[in-house]
Symmetry: C2
Subunit: 152 residues, 2 copies
């Protein structure tokens, strides 16, 4: 069972922006790509998604970039993950309007799996981005070193 | 977020064998393939796995087939799913011995996701195959019709 790498990257962008907030400087996709060693192309889609969902504010043009649009404690991890995952279709009958499984209608598995999924998301609903920013100093040190390395 | 189809089929085989228990007749892979309309090849691997894990007992030769090796109430869904899923590596740092994510060590996401996964599996640990066999009469009716159709 896995989350998509899109969701993974969504969380990484938020961690980066959360750690950098209050630095008085907007972050760029290049900074985040250097900080994690992941491709700018992937990150563009992730940032576009986060902006559309209201987590990130972007400014275009020279000196432009992005920052968090909300305080870290107001960004629930359950909300971020629900927004980023394509679906939570644990088995095929979750996603089909016309289920093809022969026992659909007589099967209670779907209900039990939905309860398990609820329990999973409930844990994440109780956590915010703020909880991912400790220890913040360690994160800033790592990000600072990697972004500086790129500038050389 | 999804379970693999291997896990899905594992559960379907157990539901079939659970509903058929006490019928005094061993089930064949052909029966189960007909009951669900899925390929015998996929099912062979699933049955082999279930036999190795001690959920299913198989008898070879003419008149051979399979049956549940334990009572449905003694088969925990959490156990079945843990045994069938390749891993529960929600994000890449769960599965790597040498994590490549730059913030590994300063990141608390893994711990939080592991808590959510535990909550997911705890719900399934509290459920057994017996809970999937209600309403049993409906399941038997569907299976009976589909297997009879194949015999024609």
């Amino acid at each position: 069972m896995r989350l998509t790498s899109f969701t993974d990257y969504t969380l990484r962008v938020l961690i980066y922006l959360g750690a950098q907030r209050g630095k008085g400087r907007l972050a760029t996709i290049g900074d985040i790509a250097a900080a994690y060693g992941i491709s700018e192309n992937h990150l563009k889609k992730v940032v576009h998604h986060l902006a559309r969902q209201g987590y990130v504010a972007t400014t275009r043009g020279k000196g432009g970039g992005m920052r968090l649009a909300r305080a870290p404690r107001e960004i629930s991890l359950g909300g971020v993950i629900r927004g980023a995952e394509e679906d939570f279709a644990l088995v095929e009958c979750f996603q089909q309007r016309k289920p093809t499984c022969s026992i659909h209608g007589a099967c209670t598995l779907r209900k039990i799996l939905a309860q398990a999924m609820d329990a999973f998301l409930k844990v994440l609903d109780a956590q915010t981005l703020e909880n991912l920013l400790r220890p913040e100093a360690d994160l800033l040190k790592i990000f600072g070193e990697r972004v500086a390395l790129r500038a050389k």
